[in-house]
């Protein structure tokens, strides 16, 4: 199925015409997510993600006026502990899986010049 550039596409789907209302800007999202994509991948994911988004748009049918959000189901609130230090991992253990360390620290690329 050809995928023309533009804000809307129509797909024949089981005899019902489905309009893809949202077309995801994969290049922008990939940048936000710090994921690099080839041009081919961008095209492939654009199509797949747009189909998925089209499916989840279904939620628009649900009347959620005055409905609270549920972000977690335990009902727990303000779970705290005493502010006391306790044994944890050693510095050596913490650094043990890193490819780049220096003087007992994680070494990263510079983000500030000079």
């Amino acid at each position: 199925m050809a995928s023309p550039r533009g804000n809307c596409e129509t797909l024949g789907y089981f005899g019902i015409i489905t309009k893809l209302i949202m077309k995801i800007d994969v290049g922008h999202v990939a940048k936000l997510a710090n994921i690099s994509l080839s041009k081919g991948e961008q095209f492939k994911f654009e199509k797949q993600l747009s189909e998925i988004l089209s499916y989840v748009e279904k939620l628009k049918e649900v009347n959620t006026k005055n409905v609270e959000t549920t972000s977690q189901v335990t009902g727990l609130e303000n779970v705290t502990r005493e502010d006391e230090t306790k044994p944890s991992l050693s510095q050596e253990e913490v650094l043990s899986n890193s490819k780049s360390t220096h003087n007992g620290l994680f070494k990263v690329k510079a983000i500030l010049d000079q």
Binding site: I24, V26, V29, A30, L32, A33, N34, I35, S36, L37, E41, F45, Q48, L49, E51, I52, L53, Y55, V56, E57, K58, L59, K60, E61, V62, T64, V67, E68, T69, T70, S71, Q72, V73, T74, G75, L76, V79, R81, L89, E93, V94, S96, N97, S98, K99, S100, F106, V108
Partner: protein, 472 residues
């Protein structure tokens, strides 16, 4: 019967009565792995040396008088889904990003199992980052269904279910975020438990979607499942989402009769593209429950059709946040090592959480989640438990859905609502369709695992599906 074919209960008795040793039991499992794993690909890591060492220590402890009360799993070989951090043992999450990652600590559940005497036989294969329903998204090759190796074993805990049904271990662990224990259990003729959210600690288990992840396990029988939950359940200081609810003895009331228990069948589940053969098996299962004395009633869960859409917004959103830590700095390879499905879900989640789209997608999904939870709460006022088929179809062929992500997501249609509501679900074998296993799930209110075991046990003992073995 070979030692590796035993249940935990049978092995406990055999070890206690010195019919065999843990070393012999473990060797039987290792031999089965050597024989079948090349074909099934259930394991990413087999801990051959360390497990025999642990088994020997278990035998020594037993001969020194260590009791079943103190260490119920003494000498029992258990496999762990490769999301469970194991100190000193490679833990990959099924992804090339972590192909060389060696955790410096054990997950709480791993510690609990070891403290109970279990010996860790290996780390099982899975869809990378638990992103999948078939096992085909593993960066280390798909796991095959031991009942027919051209078919999927279900996912994402594919290796754990396959290893158990092929008698490579006596139990295995898994995670269930949208069905990832119940689905592979149903496709592999084993018992799979998704506990109440927060019943079992998530500490040290590589996170997928933090408000949905449930830490479960696979066993050959319902009794074994109860034995394991006795060990893994409980509040953990390291996991702030574990309520301080008491852990009852889950094996105590297994034998209680099912007579008079009200079981609801949601009318929305029986129409949604349910395969005719699966429907037949399910109706037969209902007749058996009725014969056992349960009262079957139709109930309605009106928002069922929106569960999958809500799930596939909430889960990728939370996963995109959880996977942000994999930048190759403190551990692992950089983000170019992510597979396709991981990239898809990260991008989907990033989009639905981004400015301008958060309200339309994530907030809306969280509101629908409230409605889905309310549906269950209302239903549980009238009935004690709910049963449904686990999957709308029997296991599908490897490769059949892999090029259509949305088609793959639709396999979760019956399982995701339990995760959204945070309620427990027990998957038990309910027979075969074209010689492939299918399962039934029993759902209950939060912290009702005891009731689920009771119903499951009665059904299991009446049907004996668990006694069937694959031809391998």
């Amino acid at each position: 019967m070979n030692l590796n074919q035993l249940t935990i209960k049978q092995a406990q008795e055999g070890l206690k009565n010195e019919k065999f040793s843990s070393v012999e039991l473990t060797k039987a499992c290792l031999e089965q792995i050597k024989k079948l794993n090349p074909q099934i690909n259930a394991f990413i890591t087999v801990c051959e040396d360390s497990v025999l060492h642990e088994a020997k220590k278990a035998d020594d402890l037993a001969s020194q008088g260590e009791t079943l009360e103190a260490k119920p799993l003494l000498g029992i070989p258990i496999a762990l889904k490769d999301l469970f951090s194991t100190k000193g043992i490679k833990t990959t999450a099924g992804s090339k990003v972590l192909e060389n990652y060696i955790p410096p600590y054990d997950a709480t559940v791993v510690k609990k199992l070891k403290d109970a005497g279990a010996v860790i036989i290996g780390k099982t294969n899975l869809d990378a980052w638990a992103h999948g329903s078939s096992g085909e998204n593993s960066d280390f090759g798909p796991t095959k269904n031991p009942w027919n190796t051209e078919y999927v074993p279900g996912g994402s805990s594919s290796g754990s279910a396959a290893a158990l049904t092929a008698d490579m271990c006596l139990a295995s662990t898994g995670t269930d975020t949208g069905g990832s224990v119940r689905l592979p259990a149903s496709f592999c003729n084993v018992v799979g438990l998704k506990p109440t959210y927060g019943r079992v600690s998530r500490y040290g288990i590589i996170a997928m979607a933090s408000s949905l992840d449930s830490i479960g396990h696979f066993t050959k029988t319902v009794e074994d499942s109860a034995i394991l939950l006795n060990i893994t359940a409980g509040h953990d200081d390291f996991d702030a989402t574990t309520p301080g609810v008491d852990v009852q003895n889950y094996t105590k009331n297994l034998n209680n009769e099912v007579k008079g228990i009200k079981i609801g069948v949601p009318k929305e589940y029986v129409t949604k593209g349910l395969d005719k053969n699966v429907q037949t098996r399910f109706e037969q299962a209902l007749k058996i429950l009725e014969r056992l004395g349960a009262i079957i009633e139709e109930v309605s869960l009106p928002h069922t059709e929106y569960g999958n859409a809500a799930y596939y917004i909430i889960q990728p959103s939370e996963a995109s946040s959880n996977l942000a830590r994999y930048d190759g700095i403190r551990y692992g390879n950089d983000r170019s090592y992510f597979g396709d499905e991981a990239k898809r879900r990260i991008m989907l989640g990033t989009y639905t959480l981004s400015a301008g789209y958060y309200d339309a997608y994530y907030k809306k999904a969280m509101q629908v989640r409230t409605l889905i939870k309310k549906d269950f709460n209302e239903a549980f006022k009238k009935i004690d438990a709910i049963v449904t088929p686990v999957s709308p179809t029997p296991p599908w062929k490897i490769g059949e859905k892999i090029n259509d992500p949305l088609k793959m997501y639709l396999s979760d249609i019956f399982t995701v609502t339990a995760n959204l509501a945070g309620i427990p679900g027990l998957s038990v074998p309910m027979g075969f369709v074209n010689e492939l296993p299918v399962g039934m799930q029993i759902l209950g209110p939060q912290f009702s695992e005891g009731l689920l075991f009771q119903i499951g046990y009665a059904f299991e003992q009446e049907t004996n599906w668990y006694k069937m073995k694959s031809k391998l």
